[in-house]
């Protein structure tokens, strides 16, 4: 009797847990679903109320994005700028973090704090000086300007996060490598770096996402040649009307690379994001 009772209670507990999980998933997934379906709807049904659930999907919004707004160019711009700036921030940031974590440097804490202070300035404050500087240097509306800006913006984050990941690796592992015949660089490359992969993946995804979605600097520091995706996505909204279909399509196009990156890094990400919690 009581065993049966227990089984029912356990079963209903599990059902409740599933229901809650489903609810949470729906809460986060619904806007994405809405964006994706809207991007396939025609302008006439997109704003219909009550919503139209069954419709003939069309790719016309995507075609318009390519033909009218030239989104392919922006996609390439974004990929180059964000790709390069992420690599730059990751490489220099990780090396800096390694030095701060491992070497006996004077005023280490102050240097680390200095690096972080770049991020303390609200971007809006620095955008006008950057604009003037960019004009003066002749790099306005070029890849280089945004690459530099994004790399710098990502750097403090990389330094601070990677420093913790590096400190988590026991020093004796590297020392063993030094004794086993490695130089410092070899020890880092052969022993430390493979162990850092989860941390690198997690950090890279976050730095990439920040730069990929960045709007303020992109809109102020480019005019044509180096325009990026967020700027063009915003162009679908203008003073007279909002092109909901195109905005949704732009949203889908912008989300895709992030989704792909996360899927590629998934193997490392789960470990990276939980490394602090379950060390072992």
């Amino acid at each position: 009797m009581s065993m049966q009772h227990d089984a029912i209670r356990r079963g209903s507990k599990a059902a409740l847990a599933y229901a809650l999980a489903l609810l949470a998933t729906a809460f986060f997934a619904f806007p994405i679903f809405w964006m994706f379906t809207s991007s396939l709807k025609g302008d006439e049904i997109i704003t219909a109320y009550p919503p139209v659930w069954i419709f003939a999907p069309s790719l016309q919004n995507y075609v318009k994005l390519v033909e009218d707004l030239g989104i392919m160019t922006m996609f390439i711009n974004s990929s180059i700028i964000v790709g390069l700036s992420t690599c730059l921030a990751m490489i220099s940031g990780t090396l800096a973090a390694y030095a701060l974590a491992r070497f006996d440097i004077k005023n280490k804490q102050m240097i680390a704090f200095e690096v972080l202070s770049i991020r303390m300035l609200p971007p809006i404050v620095s955008v006008v000086p950057m604009f003037i500087l960019a004009r003066w240097l002749g790099v306005f509306d070029t890849y280089w300007l945004l690459i530099a800006a994004y790399a710098l913006a990502g750097l403090p984050f990389v330094v601070w996060v990677m420093r913790v990941f590096i400190q988590d690796i026991p020093q004796s592992i590297e020392e063993a490598a030094l004794i086993d015949g490695c130089s410092r660089v070899e020890a880092f490359w052969r022993v430390t770096l493979p162990l850092l992969m989860p941390g690198l993946a997690a950090t890279m995804v976050i730095v990439f996402m920040f730069a990929w979605n960045e709007f303020l600097l992109a809109s102020m520091l480019t005019s044509k040649a180096a325009k990026t995706l967020p700027v063009i996505a915003a162009n679908t909204l203008n003073a007279k009307s909002i092109a909901w279909g195109m905005a949704s399509a732009a949203g889908v196009v912008m989300s895709l690379p992030v989704v792909v990156l996360v899927l590629l890094m998934q193997r490392y990400l789960v470990r990276g994001l939980t490394l602090g919690a379950v060390k072992g």
Partner: protein, 354 residues
């Protein structure tokens, strides 16, 4: 040949960790650095390894000045307290790593790794990752990785301190056997005096960055130079009595009978071991104290406080005057509260500096 450490000092900012250490370690010798944590023993070892650079002084390994050389140019191997295994590599890859770095051919790598793993009894674990091994197995892997390339010098930093007592005793004999068979010059750091006693050819007892005494295990046990060494070596520790000599040739101390019994050759040592205020310490090992009939010639009156029968021997805790003593005797029939005589055979009394 071997290792020569000459007046090596290490300062971290205002803190002096190693304070001018000099020692000459012979080829093939098993040399133990013994001391409490923070005494500078590990820092000394790390300077020999090249993981730390000395502030001053010099280090020679096999006749070559390596004071500032990188670790990889010193032809040394090292075992770490937390093993220092590469967690992402298998046991095989871990052991093969130093050979791979030295560009040894694949076939030779395999042969040497399998040979070394066989010697250390880990042949069956070559395919596992370090986290799948027990502590004792991990330490064997780290020893195998160190020994696989036949190093001239082997450095060990408390390699057994993370193991349980029983395994420690087993590994102790194994390590000692292994390195003496291979004839590798070894420096071994430990805070465990039993490890030091049982493994070392010579021990250096360190304290506050100084080598207080260097000698064979029995020399250090039998003739400790200072109060610290006397107290540190041996369990239960040496009985130590504060004594002084303000008038030359007339030492006085807490237990009169013992002071009076100091033999001539020890008496001659007193003046050289006195501190600035004319104090020294008189010591006798617990196993040398004899319980005798009250009033026997040369014995002091003592009361039995506590009796600890250990089977083979018995620890008897006594109070003589104000002073507490420990005597290790055969199985005995002392009872708490007994009043007995304690006799210190003169040949076992030691004059020790404070």
């Amino acid at each position: 040949m071997g290792i020569q450490i000459k007046d090596v000092r290490k300062r971290f900012g205002a803190l002096t960790v190693v304070n001018g250490v000099s020692v000459d370690i012979a080829e093939g010798e098993f040399f133990v650095l013994l001391g409490e944590s923070g005494c500078g023993k590990t820092t000394t070892l790390r300077m020999v390894a090249g993981l730390e650079l000395p502030t001053s002084g010099s280090i020679h390994i096999n006749g070559k000045d390596v004071t500032y050389a990188e670790p990889r140019h010193r032809d040394i191997a090292m075992a770490f307290q937390d093993y220092g295994l590469y967690p992402n590599m298998t046991v095989y890859e871990n052991i093969a790593f130093p050979l791979k770095i030295r560009k040894v051919s694949k076939a030779d790598q395999r042969r040497k790794v399998e040979e070394t793993a066989g010697k250390l009894g880990i042949f069956n674990y070559l395919g596992r990752k370090p986290f799948q091994l027990s502590g004792g197995q991990r330490q064997r892997v780290s020893l195998a990785r160190a020994l696989v390339r036949n190093p001239k010098v082997f450095l060990m930093d408390e390699p057994l301190s993370n193991l349980d007592a029983k395994l420690r005793a087993v590994m102790r004999t194994e390590i000692k056997k292994l390195v003496s068979e291979l004839g590798i010059t070894t420096i071994y750091v430990t805070h465990d005096q039993i490890e030091a006693m049982s493994m070392a050819d010579r021990i250096a007892v360190m304290r506050h960055g100084d080598m207080v005494q260097v000698g064979s295990p029995l020399e250090i046990y039998d003739r400790p130079l200072t109060h610290f060494v006397a107290d540190f070596m041996g369990s239960p520790p040496m009985n130590l009595f504060p004594a002084s000599m303000t008038t030359a040739g007339r030492p006085t101390g807490e237990v009169r009978e013992f002071v009076d019994a100091i033999p001539d050759h020890e008496r001659d040592l007193i003046s050289s071991r006195l501190d600035a205020s004319g104090q020294f310490t008189l010591g006798i090992r617990p196993e040398h104290l004899k319980l005798v009939q009250l009033g026997s010639p040369g014995s002091a009156r003592a009361v039995v406080d506590f009796v600890e029968p250990l089977g083979q021997t018995t620890n008897v805790y006594l109070t003589a005057g104000e002073k507490r003593l420990i005597a290790v005797t055969d199985r005995c029939v002392s009872h708490v509260g007994d009043v007995v005589g304690v006799y210190a055979p003169p040949e076992f009394l030691r004059v020790v500096a404070n």
